[in-house]
């Protein structure tokens, strides 16, 4: 496999929380590679560190040791602002909870990453409307998050994650709070967009069936035990 075909490379990642007696070692010496265009599922028991791992890949947190490389770039040397700009341009996030801003309507929520990037308000709105159309919510532009169903909220979140046309989509149990039907819909949407937008995607999930539909499945084990592809 050629070097520049790797989108995410983790080497010897360790992460612990707390200090002294309260110290919890969550990740230890973890290696992981995700190829460009790949859709990787991460599975594992609750509390094992899946979210922690995703946060490290998404530059939302810093590891205590090890290397995080995105598209061949070592992210450790980047400062807070550079990491923020990289997240804005290159990364899209979907969380278990929608994490939309309650005070903004669906369109403004989706437009937010573009506003942060300094794009003009009108352009940001147009792009937002286009993406809301893509996720099937063109009739919900001016609805506020509390006026949307759980499935719709997650669709807005997906639209927001993709409005900047990122290369990488990171989703942390995106369907964890949804009922069966909504859950299937949102997952199908993510999978379709993954293909259409030529994304590299990492999806944390508890759902065996969804994991089975991904290209590869990575099973995260507690620190000290061996994690690996299944």
């Amino acid at each position: 496999m050629s070097e520049n075909n790797v989108m995410i490379r983790l080497r010897g990642i360790s992460k612990d929380y707390g200090e002294g007696d309260a110290r919890v070692e969550v990740l230890k010496g973890l290696d992981l590679e995700v190829n460009k265009g790949e859709m990787l599922a991460i599975v594992g028991p609750s509390g094992v560190g899946k979210s922690t791992l995703l946060h490290l890949v998404g530059l939302l947190d810093r590891a205590n040791g090890g290397l995080v490389e995105l598209d061949g770039q070592d992210t450790d040397a980047l400062n807070g602002s550079e990491r923020a700009r990289l997240r804005n341009k290159m990364l899209g996030f979907v969380f278990q909870h929608h994490h939309l801003l309650d005070e903004l309507d669906a369109r403004d929520n989706v437009a937010l990453p573009m506003r942060i990037a300094g794009r003009p308000a009108t352009q940001a709105r147009q792009e937002a409307e286009a993406l809301l159309d893509t996720v099937g919510l063109s009739a919900r532009l001016t609805h506020f998050p509390d006026q949307l169903s759980g499935g719709e909220q997650q669709r807005v979140a997906v639209a927001r994650a993709l409005v900047m046309r990122p290369q990488l989509l990171l989703a942390d149990e995106p369907t964890g709070n949804l009922d069966r039907a909504a859950s299937d819909g949102v997952f199908r949407l993510i999978r379709d967009l993954h293909t259409e937008e030529s994304l590299t995607s990492v999806i944390v999930t508890h759902n065996e069936e969804m994991a089975g539909q991904c290209d590869r499945v990575f099973k995260l084990a507690p620190a000290g035990e061996l994690s690996g592809y299944v």
């Binding site: 939302l60 997240r87 804005n88 341009k89 996030f93 801003l101 937010l112 300094g118 900047m164």
Partner: protein
């Protein structure tokens, strides 16, 4: 880099205009607190300025604006030459020859120490209110002036004394402790010195009283044997007291603003805590730490500016109305003015608004440091 996104967020979202959240309420309270602080400061300083400027006006009206004195000793030499030099260089300035000394003034009621002031422009004798009251002479009357100078008589040395007729009673000069008897120059010369000499030239220029000292100094530059005192030197204790009063009042009332700023700090810190998850979301979407800080500075400065400008407007209007309507009357005779004077100095208002803005910036800068340092993962984790 554009500030538009930060403005958009600070306005629309952090304060939460869509819902009446408790953040919005507390923000309003901070704003009102800061505004009231500014009102208090502006009104108090306008009151102070009102009183002080009436005192300064009085000072300018009733006392001299510069004085030429001998550098050593008490006799001013070459008075005529000095006077004509000053007169030709500064034609608008009023020049009076003067002589001062302590004496005892005796009436039929009492004998009290007083300052005897002899002036070349005075024709009749005047006692100030304080002296007149102490002497119990009411409006006018004859008094004896007893000099510290002695005269040898067959009975031994006796103090020089003279009888003068007090024709009027005048106001006490601001800053003077009182007890002044003003007489024609020749009378003072006879009583105090026994020779026709002058101690000083008192100068007055109503068009620019505060600058007269410097102008005279320039005219007399390089001339030995004389010193020039301007308004500042002549009234040093009074002016110092006025300046000190201003500073103390500013500090004391300014503390209200500090308290208001602390309240603002609590508010901004509360927004930071309440909106912790949302800030983490914004950061995860790519808002840089510096811009998160800017967002909070903007929030604090927005509240600060609204409070300061609103407060300044209310304060200036209040002071103006109170002054124009004379709503707070003062007892006659005690003060030179008939109602509490307010005087708004634009410079002072600018200083107060500036102080409010600086305090708001500091109050929002402190919590913003904490916010910007956090990694977003923390805020995203739990609901």
């Amino acid at each position: 880099m554009t500030l538009r996104a930060e403005f958009h967020l600070a306005r629309r979202y952090l304060i939460g205009l869509r819902r009446r959240t408790n953040v919005a309420t507390v923000t309003l309270i901070s704003l009102v607190g800061l505004g009231l602080g500014v009102v208090a400061l502006v009104v108090t300083l306008a009151l102070l300025e009102g009183f002080q400027s009436s005192i300064r006006r009085d000072l300018v009206e009733h006392s001299m604006h510069a004085q030429v004195r001998p550098a050593s000793g008490r006799v001013l030499d070459e008075v005529n030459q000095l006077a004509s030099l000053l007169h030709s260089s500064l034609p608008d300035v009023e020049i009076v020859r003067s002589l001062r000394g302590n004496c005892l003034v005796a009436s039929t009621v009492d004998a009290v120490p007083a300052l005897l002031v002899g002036r070349s422009d005075v024709e009749s004798v005047m006692a100030d209110q304080v002296l007149a009251a102490r002497l119990g002479i009411g409006a006018t009357g004859a008094v004896d002036v007893i000099s510290p100078r002695q005269r040898l008589t067959p009975l031994g040395p006796v103090p020089v004394r003279a009888r003068v007729d007090v024709k009027e009673v005048g106001v006490t000069e601001p800053g003077a402790e009182g007890g002044v008897l003003r007489v024609p120059l020749e009378v003072a010369q006879r009583i105090l010195w026994g020779s026709a000499q002058v101690e000083a030239l008192d100068l007055k220029d109503l068009s620019a009283p505060w600058r007269l000292g410097d102008r005279v100094r320039r005219v007399l530059e390089g001339r030995d044997g004389v010193v020039v005192l301007g308004m500042d030197e002549l009234n040093r204790p009074l002016l110092l007291a006025l300046a000190l009063e201003r500073i103390l009042i500013f500090v004391a009332v300014g503390l209200i603003l500090v308290v208001a700023a602390l309240n603002l700090l609590c508010n901004v810190a509360m927004v930071a805590a309440e909106k912790r998850r949302d800030l983490a979301v914004l950061t995860s979407l790519g808002l840089e730490p510096v811009r998160v800080r800017r967002l909070f500075l903007l929030l604090g400065l927005g509240i600060g500016a609204a409070g300061a400008i609103g407060g300044a407007a209310v304060g200036v209007a209040t002071a103006w109305i109170l002054d124009a309507t004379g709503a707070l009357p003062l007892p006659r005779g005690v003060f030179v003015v008939s109602s509490v004077p307010f005087s708004v100095d634009p410079m002072m208002v600018a200083k107060v608004v500036g102080l409010a803005l600086i305090l708001s910036a500091v109050a929002s800068w402190l919590p913003s440091r904490v916010v910007a340092r956090r990694e977003p993962a923390e805020g995203l984790r739990y609901e």
